[in-house]
């Protein structure tokens, strides 16, 4: 290869990277600009005033709280499934994995309608829970199951990848050393997959907080933050909706940055 060929090659390599970089910047700006513009166009005093409104603070707290409940339920039910999917091959596994991904691909308003057909008071589970004193439609449990439905894939998929990375022979050794299957899971597999599980948990919580469509169908009231943004936009217009939106974004940002830092420390410990 002569010098000219090398120079040409270096140039084309660099050219490719320049093009890729430019394209990447476009998408980064596309995400960043709307959020940034909206945040800076609202004054701190305006935000503070909005936060003082009981309705707004309550809606944001309810979003965080309901998404947290959904994540806890998702954790208890989803982690075992993730482990089974990571450890075993069986006929029809692909179907189950597809089923797990389904909530990501279907429109969430449609998901809300589907949930109504099971958890509505006149339907199967809804009536059963009603006798226990739990109602879903127009209640907090409704918000929780709507969030659970749309966000569970994030935790299950992430935890599954985490468990897959744990060498099955580590569990085998633990068993020969006297650990029951439970102990091998809680002392070996779970701690070793903790990074993926934690990031999956954070993703699930975040996805729950941001849910709008399914929640609106099941429980317009009590209002979570995303529904409140929509309600104010519909009733009073952009100026009233924006501060709530900004507050919601800021709340999420603070929490997720904090969790990321904690998770990173935990990982590298």
């Amino acid at each position: 290869m002569n010098w000219r060929a090398i120079a040409t090659r270096a140039l084309t390599m660099n050219l490719m990277k320049v093009v890729f970089l430019l394209l990447g910047v476009v998408i980064l700006l596309f995400i960043f600009l709307p959020l940034f513009t909206m945040t800076v166009s609202s004054s701190p005093s305006q935000l503070l005033d909005t936060l003082r409104q009981e309705e707004v603070a309550g809606a944001i707290l309810l979003s965080l709280y309901a998404a947290l409940l959904a994540t806890v339920v998702g954790f208890i039910l989803g982690i075992p499934l993730a482990y089974l999917l990571a450890r075993h091959d069986f006929p029809g596994k692909g179907v189950i994995e597809g089923l797990i991904d389904l909530p990501i691909v279907i429109p969430h308003s449609a998901a809300g309608i589907a949930l109504l057909f099971v958890f509505g008071r006149r339907f199967l589970l809804g009536s059963a829970f009603h006798t226990l004193g739990i109602d879903f439609v127009g209640e907090i449990p409704g918000i929780v199951i709507a969030m659970l439905f749309v966000s569970i894939p994030f935790l299950v998929n992430s935890a599954k990848e985490g468990f897959k990375k744990v060498d099955v022979r580590l569990e085998n050794v633990a068993r020969t050393l006297g650990a029951s299957p439970w102990q091998a899971f809680f002392r070996i597999s779970l701690p070793l997959a903790r990074g993926s599980i934690l990031s999956g948990t954070v993703m699930m919580w975040a996805r729950g907080i941001s849910e709008f469509g399914a929640v609106m169908i099941l429980a317009y009231h009590p209002m979570i933050a995303s529904v409140l943004v929509y309600a104010r936009f519909e009733a009073f217009g952009l100026d009233y909706a924006m501060p709530v939106a900004v507050l919601l974004i800021l709340a999420c940002l603070v929490i997720f940055i904090a969790l990321r830092v904690v998770a990173h420390r935990w990982e590298t410990r």
């Binding site: 060498d167 022979r169 580590l170 085998n172 050794v173 633990a174 068993r175 020969t176 050393l177 006297g178 650990a179 029951s180 102990q183 002392r187 070996i188 701690p191 070793l192």
Partner: protein, 348 residues
């Protein structure tokens, strides 16, 4: 100690069939076979980690075929020494002890004892990521030994140890076995390792045991083509290493003295690869220290290559190409010279 009868294990597409094996109390038993022969599957099955299709495993006279692994009290060390990466060396060793409801003090004492035995006391606070191959091998062994197992299973314990420390580690294994007297099953694909360590050897091929016997029986009387081929990759001699008058090491076998390069002394084994032996019709003038005259006693035709057995004594298996075989016009009962370097002889 452990009796395996007609054991069948199916794992994915792999089938291990009709395996019958007796390992005596205190014995160092070696499972020898090529990759894919099912050595690890058999070991895992003994530990209770694989579902058994049929057959029986008895441990100390008790049927354990369907007993879960945590109730068998079998120590297991895997090939790459799979240590718990999130636990220190100390906590790795403590893992099995903690499952046994021992007091803190008993656990500390047991750790100190086994760490001392393996010489890893200084490593106790380290995480596995900061250990060398040999160090993690010792940790894995310490972890398995700490529970005072009835049976110790070692899956290729020397494969992840670098060649320089391999022989030392091999001797250490033997010493630990002699000291603790734990019945041990050791899996390897290395014939020399098997001979150096095993009281008895079982040769495994494609999911079944082909031959069981003492190292002597296996390498003197292979019962099948499969074992013979496995064994024939090396000339294995049993003899004594002595000092010659010039300070050189001499391996004496059946009256023949081979020049060797080793620091070891005593009754040992030596191996020479058949392809390292040169055959000529007359004596060769070369710098190689070992040159002997012998008689061709057997010719095994393998197509493009030919294995010759030359009796000096002892018997040497030599490998030559068909072309040189025909050019030299070799026949049985013919006198030939064999020549090889001192460094071609591996003493173990």
């Amino acid at each position: 100690m452990i009796e395996i009868k007609d054991l069948c294990v199916k794992l994915g597409s792999f089938l291990m069939k009709d395996t019958t094996l007796d390992v005596r109390d205190g014995e160092y038993f070696v499972l020898l076979g090529p990759t894919g022969a099912g050595k690890t599957v058999l070991l895992e099955s003994i530990a209770g980690l694989n579902p058994i299709k049929s057959g029986q495993i008895r441990l100390k006279g008790k049927d354990v075929t369907f007993l879960s692994p945590e109730k068998r009290n079998i120590g297991f060390a895997y090939q790459e020494h799979v240590l718990f990466p999130h636990l220190s060396v100390r906590d790795n060793i403590a893992f099995g002890l903690m499952r046994r409801r021992k007091t803190r003090r008993e656990i500390e004492e047991a750790i100190a004892q086994v760490a001392e035995l393996l010489g890893i006391t200084d490593l106790l606070e380290r995480k596995p990521a900061f250990l060398s191959g040999g160090e993690s091998q010792k940790t894995a062994l310490a972890r398995a030994l700490a529970i005072k197992p009835d049976l110790l299973l070692l899956d290729e314990p020397l494969s992840a140890v670098d060649p320089e420390t391999k022989e030392a580690t091999q001797r250490e294994l033997k010493e630990i076995h002699n000291r603790l007297g734990i019945t041990t099953i050791h899996v390897t694909h290395d014939f020399e390792e098997a001979i150096a360590l095993g009281d008895r050897i079982a040769v495994l091929g494609e999911g079944r045991i082909v031959q069981i016997g003492t190292p002597e029986q296996i390498f003197r009387h292979p019962n099948s083509e499969f074992v013979a081929r496995f064994v024939m990759t090396r000339n294995i001699l049993e003899g004594e290493v002595l000092d010659s008058s010039e300070g050189q090491s001499i391996f004496s076998v059946e009256g023949t003295k081979l020049a060797v390069v080793t620091a070891l002394r005593g009754r040992l084994h030596a191996s020479i690869r058949p392809e390292d032996i040169l055959i000529s019709r007359g004596p060769l003038h070369s710098s190689a220290l070992n040159s002997f005259q012998g008689t061709i006693t057997r010719i095994a035709d393998r197509g493009s290559v030919i294995y010759l057995t030359v009796t000096v004594p002892p018997e040497f298996t030599c490998l030559i190409t068909r072309r040189s075989f025909e050019e030299m016009d070799l026949r049985e009962e013919q006198k030939v010279c064999i020549t090889f370097k001192a460094s071609a002889v591996h003493v173990f």
